[in-house]
Symmetry: C2
Subunit: 623 residues, 2 copies
C-alpha cells in the first residue's frame, strides 16, 4: 500500500478498503507494511501525544474491521505508563487482529509485537523515537529471544503460527529477524526506501531467512514517499512471497500499490507455484523509475501542479526538463531560457530545441539588461560613512558579476515566473556540484526540490541516454547537450564554443568526491594521497585506470587539486548544503539528514601534512 | 579553553600553552573540558579514520607534555579492534596523564575513562557516534558501576583519588555522574552549550553532586562555538569549583577562556575560601552575551570581516544592525535601505536614523525600477506553446509582486552589495516568523546566518531595549522602530502609517507558537482547543490573562486562526526552514537539527475534529 506519512486518517481509509476487498476475495490473512497507520519519517511529530492517541484510534478502526479475516499491520505501540527522557515510551510495533480483536500473546506485556533492534541507518533516527524489544528485554529481565513468540491464529479451525519480524536497514540484519522454530509462516514487514542496488540485498537476506526456517515468508513493504526534511526517499515496495526454499514465488511491481492474492501450500514449504524469474532491471533504469515516482509524489504532496525550469542548453537542466516531462502535462511545464552576453549561440539554440522536442511551454527572458542595471546600481550608488560623511563607491569584480547573473536567473526571473505560472521552479544541481558547492545560493542552488542532487555527473549522462533511448525512444535531450563541454557560461573564461567550461574534471572528480562522502569509513586526503603515492588510486576510488596520471603532470599538481576540492567539500560546500533544497534520494548515501554535517574549519591531519612533505620532496629528488 | 571543533591541531596548541603556564604557576593538576582535543559537534567527520588517528596523535602530544603535572583532558578514545555497524568503536573519554604517561586503571580495559551514558539531548546525536560505558559494561558482563573507579594520582608523594565524570545534557542526569566513595576530588568535564536559564540547572546538579560526595568538585566546560549544520551553539564555559558543601568558591567569567589557579584545602571539604555570590544575570542580558559572542565567533570561523544588513526601519533589522554593531567596526558594517513605493516616509527616515546612530556605512538603493522591470519582463515576454505555436502571457498577481520585492532586496541587491563589499548579508528573521514561514525564500529568509531566529518577537523587543539601555546606553535603535506596528510593507494593505501591518498578533501568537514547538511533549491543536474550551488557554501557554477573549470574538474565529497557523507551521513553514540559514541558538529548543522536521501533509487528529464540531455546535446553541 501507499503509506502517507503523518496521515493516519488517509492510511486507515486505504487499509479498510483493502481489507474489504481481501475479504471479498476470500483471503484468510492480509498483511500491511511497517508503520502502515502513522507512516515512519515524522520527525518530532512522534513527540505529540495527540498524534499518538490518533494513531491508536485509527488502529482500533483497523482492528474492528478484521471480522472474518486476520489482519497484520504496523503501527506505533504506546506504553502510556512508561517514559524515557520525559517522553512517553513508544514502540515500532506489529499488531495482529482477527474477528475484531487483537490476538494477544501471554508471554508479552503488550497486545502487539515489538521491533527487535533500532536500525543503525543514520537516515532514520529510530533509536531517538522508539524503544526496541531489546531495550524492553533488558528492563524486564529475560532476553529478547525469549520474548519472541509466534502469533497463533486460526484459519478454518486450524491453528497457524506466524513469526513476525521487521526488515532492518543497515548492518546487523542477521540479529534482527530470528526465525521462530515451528512457525508455519514468516511475516517480515518493512518501511524500506529505494536505493540503487538495495533490492538485491533485500532479496538475499529474505531468501536466507525463508530457507533457514524452511517456511514460506511474506515480505511487505510500502510504496509512497517520505522525507526527513532535507532528504526525500522513495519507497519502491517490492513486496514478495518466498517459499520455504528461499525462492520468490510472487511479487508486486515496484512503486505500485497492489492487493495481491497468494495461495500457499504449507505441505510443500509454501511452494504452490514455479518460482518466478526476478527481473533484473538496470541501475540507471531503476534510478529513472525512482526519480519519476519521487517527483510525481512530491508534487502531489505539496499540491504543486505546474513547474518552471531554467534551461541553459547544458545537460543538467535538459535532463531535469526531460524528467519532469515524464510526470507533467506539456502545458504545465514551462522552460525558460535566460541568455546573457556570455551565452553561446550553441546553447541558446539547444534550449529551444529541447523545448520543441518536449512540446512544452517555452519563453526566452534575457538577463543582460537587468544584470547591467544591478551592476550599475551597486557600483554607482554612494555608500556614506555616517560618522564622517565621506562617500565611496563599491566596485563589482568579475566573479561578483558572475553570481549576480546566477541570482538574476533564479531569484529574479524563475521565482517570479513560477509564482505567476502557479507553480515552483526546480534546482538542477547534481551531486558533484553539491559536494563542492559549485552553485550560487539564491541562484542555481535555489528551487523547491533538487531532483538530480543524488546523481554524480556520470549518472546524469547515463540518465540522459536512458531518457532518450528507453523512455521517450527519440532524441528529446539534444545530442549536442550531451556532447558539449559542461559549463556555467558566466564569463568568457567558460565559453563552450571554445571548448572551455567547468573547473571540474568529472571522470576523475566524480569518483574522488564519491570516496569523500559515500563510504561508511569516510576517506580523507590522507587516504587519497597514500593511494596516489602507492599507485593504486584509480583502483581504490573506481575511476578509469591510467586517468589520473594523464590529468596531473606531477604530485604538486595532484596535491593542489586534492586540497582545493577537500577545502570546498568541507568548507563552503557544507554552508551551501545547509541552505539547499530537499534532495531526492536514489543512493544509500544522499546528502541531508543522514549525512550529519557541521560547518567547521577545514582540517588536514598531521599525518597528511607529513605525507605531503615527503611526496613533494620525493618528487623533487626524482627530477 | 576555547575548543575549535574539528581542529585537534589548534586545540592541542592551546592546551600545550596552558599546561606550560600552569606548570610555571606551580599547579599540580590541570583539567581541560570534554572532547578538548577534537571538539564535539563534528557530524560524520567522526567516521573518518584519518581524523581519529589524528586525534590520537595530538592526544599523545598532550600526554607527553605532562611532566611534573597531572593533566586531565577529553578526547575520543578509539578501540580499533571493535566495530559497531561497520564503524570503528569510539568513546567519549577522559584521559589522565602525569609525567608523560597515562595513568591506567587495572579495572579498566582501556587507558582512559568513558562517558557513562549518551546524552538524550536531540541536538547532539551522541549515541550515533559513540559507544558508552553502559554499552561496554553490557558487553563485558559487570555493571557500569563496577567499571567506575577513581583515578589515583600522586601529588608530592601523597595519593589523591579523582572521580571523573561527564556533564550530561538533557534528562537522566542523576544516573550519569555517580560520585565515587572515597574520592578526594570530583572532576566533571563538559561540552555544554549555552541556553537561557540553563546555568541554574547546571549549578543545582553540580552542587548536589559535590555536597552528596562531601568532596570538592571541579567543573570544566569549554567556550567557543560549535554547530550541527543548521544550528549554531555558543559555549559559555562557566567552569567553576564547588566545595564539598556544594557552594561555588570560584568560577570563570562566561564566554571567556581563562586559566584559573585554585588552592584546595582537602581538610575542610575543599573550602579554602568564602563561597562567592553568584551573579544572577537577566535572561535578556545573557541572551545578548550569547548573541554577541556567537556572531563574533561565527564571523571569525568563516573568515568574514564585513557585513551588510538590509534595514527596513522596523524592529528586527534594527536590532540585527545594533547587534552586529557591537561586534564590527562601523566601517565594516553597511546598512542598506531599499525603499519601494510601499515604503512609508516614517520607516525610510528610521533606517537612516539607525545608521546615523551607529555611525556606520549607509546606502539607499531603491527597488522600484527593478521591480517594475521584472514585473514587466515576466508579464510581457511571450510564453510559447512549442507544440501548437500559441503564445500567451503570464499575469503577475499582487501577492506575486510582493515576493518579487522581497527577492529583489535580498537576492539582487544585498547579495550583490555584500559580495562587492567583501562580506555577507544577514537574515533578520525571528523565531515567530520562522515558525510560520512568514518570510520569502531567496528574500528576507536568505543570508549567511539567522542571528535572531531563536528569539520570539517579544524577545526581540526585549533585546532592543537592552541594547539601548545597557549596551549602547543611548538610543541607537530609534524609539519609533520599537513603537511602530510590525509590517513587511510589501503592499498598501501593510501601510504602517495607517497602523496596518503583519497578520501575526505577537502577544498571543508568540506563546501559541512556543507551545507548538518548544515543549518536549509537543502541543497540537487538540490540546489548544481543549484549553480554549476549558478557559485555561492563557495560563497553559503563558500569555497575558484575558488576552485571547479580546482577540477573538467567538470560537469560530479562534478555530480559524488556530488552523491557519498550525497549517503554516507544519506545512510551508517546514519547507522554508529546510532552506533557511543556520540559526544562532539561545534557547533549549532552537530550530535545526534538534528539531527533526519532515515536510509532510498537514494533519488534524480525529479527536480535534470531534472537539471542533462540538465547540462550534455549542457556540451556535449559545447564541
Amino acid at each position: 500500500m501507499e503509506v502517507v506519512p503523518g496521515r493516519p486518517d488517509l492510511n486507515c481509509r486505504t487499509m479498510l478498503d483493502m481489507i474489504g476487498e481481501a475479504r471479498r476475495g476470500g483471503a484468510h490473512i492480509i498483511v500491511f507494511p511497517e508503520m502502515s497507520v502513522p507512516g515512519y519519517l515524522l520527525g518530532n511529530t512522534w513527540g505529540q501525544r495527540a498524534f499518538l492517541r490518533d494513531c491508536e484510534e485509527y488502529g482500533r478502526q483497523v482492528i474492528k474491521a478484521s471480522s472474518g479475516i486476520c489482519v497484520l499491520f504496523g503501527n506505533v505501540g504506546v506504553d502510556w505508563n512508561r517514559t524515557t527522557g520525559g517522553r512517553v515510551c513508544k514502540y515500532n510495533a506489529v499488531f495482529a487482529a482477527q474477528n475484531g480483536r487483537l490476538i494477544k500473546n501471554k508471554y508479552y506485556p503488550y497486545p502487539f509485537q515489538i521491533k527487535e533492534y533500532a536500525t543503525g541507518c543514520p537516515d532514520f533516527d529510530e533509536a531517538r523515537h522508539f524503544c526496541s524489544l531489546s531495550d524492553l528485554a533488558r528492563d524486564m529481565g529475560p532476553k529478547a529471544g525469549e520474548l519472541k513468540q509466534p502469533v497463533r491464529i486460526n484459519i478454518g479451525g486450524e491453528p497457524l503460527l506466524l513469526a513476525c519480524s521487521f526488515y532492518n536497514e543497515g548492518n546487523g540484519d542477521e540479529r534482527a529477524a530470528m526465525p521462530l522454530k515451528g512457525a508455519h509462516l514468516l511475516i517480515n514487514i518493512a518501511a524500506s526506501p529505494f536505493a540503487v542496488g538495495k533490492n538485491n540485498l533485500r532479496k538475499r537476506f529474505l531468501s536466507g531467512l525463508a530457507a533457514g526456517a524452511g517456511a514460506p515468508l511474506i515480505f511487505v513493504n510500502n510504496v509512497g514517499i517520505q522525507n526527513s526534511g532535507k532528504t526525500v526517499y522513495t519507497y519502491d515496495g517490492g513486496s514478495a512471497i518466498f517459499d520455504g526454499f528461499g525462492e520468490i514465488i510472487d511479487c508486486c511491481a515496484p512503486f505500485t500499490p497492489e492487493l495481491k492474492f497468494v495461495d500457499l501450500d504449507f505441505g510443500c514449504r509454501g511452494r504452490n507455484a514455479i518460482p518466478i524469474p526476478v527481473a533484473q532491471g538496470s541501475d540507471i533504469g531503476s534510478t529513472y523509475s525512482a526519480l519519476n515516482y519521487g517527483i510525481r509524489k512530491f508534487l502531489a504532496m505539496i499540491g504543486m501542479k505546474r513547474v518552471v525550469i531554467g534551461v541553459s542548453g547544458g545537460i543538467d537542466s535538459a535532463v531535469s526538463a526531460a524528467l519532469y516531462g515524464t510526470v507533467l502535462d506539456p502545458g504545465d511545464l514551462l522552460l525558460v531560457s535566460m541568455p546573457s552576453m556570455y551565452t553561446s549561440r550553441t546553447t541558446r539554440d539547444l534550449a529551444g530545441k529541447l523545448a520543441r522536442n518536449l512540446g512544452c511551454l517555452y519563453s526566452v527572458m534575457p538577463i543582460q539588461d537587468a544584470v547591467e542595471f544591478t551592476v550599475g546600481q551597486i557600483s554607482k550608488t554612494p555608500v556614506i560613512n555616517m560618522k564622517t560623511g565621506k562617500r565611496q563607491q563599491l566596485a563589482v569584480a568579475p566573479f561578483v558579476a558572475e553570481n549576480i547573473q546566477a541570482r538574476d536567473r533564479s531569484a529574479r526571473i524563475l521565482a517570479g515566473v513560477a509564482a505567476a505560472f502557479g507553480g515552483g521552479f526546480t534546482c538542477n544541481s547534481n551531486k558533484s556540484e553539491m559536494t563542492i558547492g559549485y552553485a550560487t545560493m539564491c541562484g542555481d542552488l535555489a528551487g523547491f526540490l533538487a531532483a538530480l542532487a543524488d546523481l554524480w555527473k556520470y549518472q546524469v549522462y547515463g540518465l540522459a541516454g536512458y531518457l532518450n533511448e528507453h523512455v521517450y525512444r527519440r532524441e528529446v535531450i539534444p545530442r549536442e547537450s550531451i556532447d558539449i563541454v559542461p559549463s556555467a557560461e558566466l564569463s568568457f573564461e567558460q565559453a563552450v564554443d571554445e571548448g572551455k567550461g567547468d573547473p571540474v574534471i568529472y571522470p576523475y572528480h566524480d569518483y574522488l568526491f564519491r570516496a569523500f562522502m559515500e563510504r561508511e569509513d569516510r576517506v580523507a586526503p590522507e587516504d587519497i594521497l597514500t593511494w596516489w603515492v602507492e599507485g593504486v588510486l584509480e583502483e581504490r576510488i573506481g575511476c578509469r585506470p591510467g586517468l589520473v596520471k594523464r590529468i596531473f603532470k606531477d604530485t604538486g599538481e595532484f596535491i593542489f587539486d586534492l586540497e582545493r576540492w577537500w577545502t570546498q567539500y568541507t568548507g563552503i560546500g557544507v554552508a551551501k548544503r545547509i541552505q539547499s533544497p530537499p534532495v531526492l534520494a536514489v543512493s544509500r548515501r544522499p546528502y541531508g539528514f543522514g549525512q550529519r554535517e557541521a560547518q567547521n574549519r577545514v582540517h588536514f591531519t598531521a599525518s597528511y601534512l607529513r605525507l605531503k612533505k615527503e611526496a613533494l620532496k620525493h618528487k623533487t629528488t626524482e627530477q
